[in-house]
C-alpha cells in the first residue's frame, strides 16, 4: 500500500467537494436546519385544546353544606389543568362547533349528574363526551385528560360528600372511590374503529406520490438538458409550451397510474378505513401529482446532475413533510412557522384528503383546497416554462 497515493486520493475527494459550494453548504447547513426544525416542532408547547362544555347539572342540596354541584367541580378541575380552553356551549350547538373546529370535543353533564353520583345505588354517574374524531391520537388524549380531571375532582368531592352523605345512606367512603364517573364517548366523524394509521394514511399517500413524481420529473428533465436533446428540441418548431405540456401529459399519466396503485393498495391490502368518495380522493392526489411535475421541472433548472437532484430532498421534500400537517396539525405549529406551512402545496392536499377520508366531506367542502393546488400547479408549470426559455437566452 502506498500511503502517498491514499493521501492524494483523500485530498482529491475533499477538493472536489470543496469546489462544489452548494454541496458544502448542504452538508453543513442542511443538518442544522433539519435539527432546528425538529427541535421547534418537538418542543413546541402542547397546544391548549378548545373544549366545549354543556353543563346541565343542577347539583344536589346537602344538609349543612348547601348545593353541591359535582359537574362544576370537574369543570373547575379541567380548567385548572391548563390543558383545555373551556367554552360554555348549548346542547344544540355541539356538532356545529365540532364541525367548524372551534371545539375539538364537548363534555356534557346531564341534569342529574350530581344526584346520580351521590345517591344512585352504585354511586355512578355518566357524562357524555363528543369528539371530532378524525385524529385518533387527539381523541385518546382528550378522553384521558377528562377522565383524569373527573378522578381528581372526585377525590375532593368525596371528602365533602362523605361527611354529608354518610348519615343519609351509610355508604362508606371506600366504596364511592374507584371510578364513579363513566365517560360515554361518541364521535362526529370517523370513530373508535379508526386508528392512527387511518389518520396518517391520507397524508402518507399524498406525500409518497408527490415525492416520487417530483424526483422522476426532476431527473427526466435534467437528462433532457444534460444529454443535449433539449438543445436539439429547441432547434425544432416545437414551442416551450408544447414541451411543458408534453411533459405534463407523459409524467401525468405515469403519476396517475402510480396514484391509482397506491390508493388501491392502501385500501385493499393495508385496509385503512375511509369515508368519502374514492373518485374525489383520486382527483386530489392527481392534482398534487401535477404540482409535483411542475415543481420538478422548475427545480431541475437548479441541478447540474443527479446528485444535485438528491440534494433537493432535504431542501424541498423534508420541510414539506414536517410542516404540512402530516404529524403536527397546522393550527398547532408555532406562529412563525405557520406562514411557511401555507406555502407548501402538501398542506392543502393533506387537509383535503383528511376531509375526504376521515370526515367524509364532499367537493362543496374541499374545493378551496383544490383551487389552491391547481394554482400551485399552474404557477410551477409557468415558471418551469420560463426556465426552458433561459436555454435560448
Amino acid at each position: 500500500m502506498n500511503r502517498k497515493r491514499v493521501v492524494a486520493l483523500a485530498r482529491r475527494v475533499v477538493r472536489q467537494i470543496a469546489h462544489d459550494r452548494r454541496t458544502v453548504a448542504l452538508v453543513i447547513v442542511a443538518p442544522m436546519l433539519m435539527l432546528a426544525l425538529g427541535a421547534i416542532l418537538f418542543r413546541a408547547e402542547a397546544a391548549v385544546i378548545p373544549l366545549g362544555v354543556v353543563n346541565q347539572d343542577i347539583g344536589m342540596k346537602l344538609p349543612g353544606i348547601g348545593n353541591l354541584a359535582a359537574g362544576q367541580r370537574i369543570i373547575d378541575e379541567l380548567a385548572a389543568s391548563g390543558a383545555f380552553d373551556l367554552i360554555p356551549l348549548r346542547l344544540e350547538e355541539i356538532d356545529e362547533r365540532l364541525r367548524d373546529g372551534s371545539a375539538q370535543g364537548v363534555v356534557t353533564f346531564p341534569a342529574d349528574f350530581t344526584v346520580q353520583l351521590l345517591s344512585s345505588p352504585g354511586h355512578r354517574a355518566f357524562l357524555d363526551l363528543r369528539l371530532e374524531g378524525s385524529n385518533p391520537g387527539r381523541s385518546q388524549l382528550i378522553a384521558a385528560r377528562i377522565t383524569e380531571g373527573a378522578v381528581k375532582a372526585m377525590v375532593g368531592l368525596n371528602r365533602v360528600g362523605a361527611t354529608a352523605s354518610q348519615p343519609t345512606d351509610g355508604q362508606s367512603e371506600s366504596q364511592a372511590v374507584g371510578l364513579p364517573v363513566t365517560v360515554n364517548t361518541t364521535y362526529l366523524y370517523a370513530g373508535s374503529s379508526f386508528d392512527l394509521m387511518d389518520y396518517i394514511a391520507p397524508v402518507y399517500i399524498a406525500f409518497l406520490s408527490f415525492f416520487f413524481v417530483f424526483l422522476l420529473t426532476c431527473v427526466a428533465f435534467l437528462r433532457e438538458r444534460s444529454q443535449g436533446t433539449m438543445e436539439r428540441l429547441l432547434a425544432t418548431p416545437v414551442t416551450r409550451l408544447e414541451i411543458i405540456l408534453g411533459y405534463l401529459g407523459g409524467l401525468g399519466i405515469v403519476a396517475l397510474i402510480q396514484v391509482a396503485v397506491i390508493l388501491l393498495f392502501t385500501i385493499w391490502v393495508i385496509k385503512i378505513h375511509y369515508l368519502g368518495s374514492l373518485a374525489l380522493l383520486f382527483l386530489v392526489v392527481a392534482l398534487l401529482a401535477l404540482v409535483g411535475v411542475g415543481l420538478g421541472i422548475l427545480a431541475s433548472t437548479f441541478a447540474r446532475n443527479e446528485f444535485q437532484v438528491i440534494q433537493f430532498i432535504p431542501i424541498i421534500i423534508i420541510p414539506q413533510a414536517l410542516l404540512s400537517g402530516m404529524v403536527w396539525p397546522l393550527e398547532e405549529l408555532p406562529g412563525y412557522l405557520r406562514p411557511l406551512a401555507y406555502l407548501m402545496p402538501l398542506s392543502y392536499a393533506n387537509r383535503a384528503l383528511r376531509d375526504i377520508m376521515l370526515r367524509g366531506l364532499n367537493l362543496t367542502a374541499i374545493w378551496p383546497n383544490l383551487l389552491i393546488l391547481a394554482t400551485f400547479a399552474i404557477v410551477f408549470v409557468a415558471l418551469g416554462a420560463l426556465t426552458v426559455r433561459r436555454e435560448v437566452a
Partner: protein, 240 residues
C-alpha cells in the same frame, strides 16, 4: 437569386467576450459553406445564431427569407450538434420517429421515411436497438439521420465529423454532396482542413470575425499557399 442564409453586421457578445464580431455571410441554395477556424473562433455561436437558439446582440440573420429566431421555419431546417444528443433509452427507430414528429410541419413522418434514413446511414439492422447499446460511430450516424429525417432544405452542422472514423467521414461527406446536388443548402463547421476542400465556399474564422472567404482554390491562390492550412495561417498573420 435571394440567398438562403444571410447575416449582416452580426454580433453576439457574452459579457465582455465578442463571440461573433460583425459577420456578413451569404450562402446560396444548394451550396456547401464551410466554417473553418480554431476552437473558440465563434463557429458554434454563429451556427446557434443561424438556427435561432441565440438572439443576436446586434445585426441580423435571415434563413429562407425569414429573420431568425423563427420557430415555424425550423421545420425546414436540420441541426446537428457535436455531441450526438439522442435519447439513450429509446431505440434508434423511436428516436427518429420522435424527432421527425417534432420537425414535421404538415404531414407526419411515415415509417417508410424512417426506414429510408436508417438505410441511408446503414443502421437498418439496428432499428430496434436502444441507443445506449450503440457504438459511438453508430450514434453519430443516427444523429445525422435524425437531422435529415424531415427532409430539411437547410442543414446546419456543427462539427458533425468530430470523433468520426475516416471511413465514416467519407460516407458523411458523400451524403452532404448528394443532398447539395438535390438543392439542400448546408453550413458545416470544422477545424479539419482536409474536410474544407470538399466545400463550395469557405469562411476562415478567427476571434468572431471572418478572415477570408471564397472557394478552397481561390483562398489558396490568394495566399500563394500550397495547402489550406498555410493559407489560413497567411490570412491570420495578415490580420495581425
Amino acid at each position: 437569386m435571394e440567398p438562403v442564409i444571410r447575416t449582416q453586421a452580426l454580433q453576439k457578445h457574452f459579457g465582455p467576450i465578442r463571440a461573433v464580431d460583425g459577420l456578413d455571410v451569404t450562402v446560396q441554395a444548394g451550396e456547401i459553406y464551410g466554417l473553418l477556424g480554431p476552437n473558440g473562433s465563434g463557429k458554434t455561436t454563429l451556427i446557434r445564431l443561424l438556427i435561432g437558439l441565440l438572439r443576436a446582440t446586434s445585426g441580423w440573420v435571415t434563413v429562407l427569407g425569414q429573420p431568425m429566431p423563427n420557430k415555424p421555419i425550423l421545420a425546414r431546417v436540420g441541426y446537428m450538434t457535436q455531441a450526438s444528443a439522442l435519447y439513450d433509452d429509446l431505440s434508434a427507430q423511436e428516436n427518429l420517429g420522435f424527432f421527425g414528429a417534432m420537425c414535421s410541419a404538415g404531414q407526419p413522418i411515415g415509417r417508410e421515411r424512417v426506414a429510408q434514413v436508417l438505410e441511408l446511414v446503414g443502421l437498418t439492422d439496428r432499428a430496434n436497438s436502444l441507443v445506449r447499446t450503440l457504438s459511438g460511430g453508430m450514434k453519430q450516424r443516427l444523429s445525422l439521420a435524425c437531422t435529415l429525417v424531415h427532409r430539411p432544405q437547410v442543414l446546419l452542422l456543427d462539427e458533425p465529423t468530430v470523433g468520426v472514423d475516416p471511413q465514416l467521414r467519407v460516407a458523411f461527406w458523400a451524403h452532404f454532396r448528394s443532398l447539395a446536388a438535390e438543392g439542400v443548402t448546408i453550413v458545416v463547421s470544422s477545424h479539419v482542413m482536409d474536410e474544407a476542400e470538399r466545400c463550395d465556399q469557405l469562411g476562415f474564422m478567427r476571434q468572431g470575425r471572418l478572415l477570408a472567404e471564397g472557394s478552397a482554390a481561390a483562398l489558396r491562390s490568394g495566399a500563394g499557399a500550397a495547402t489550406l492550412e498555410e493559407a489560413f495561417l497567411h490570412y491570420a498573420s495578415r490580420e495581425e
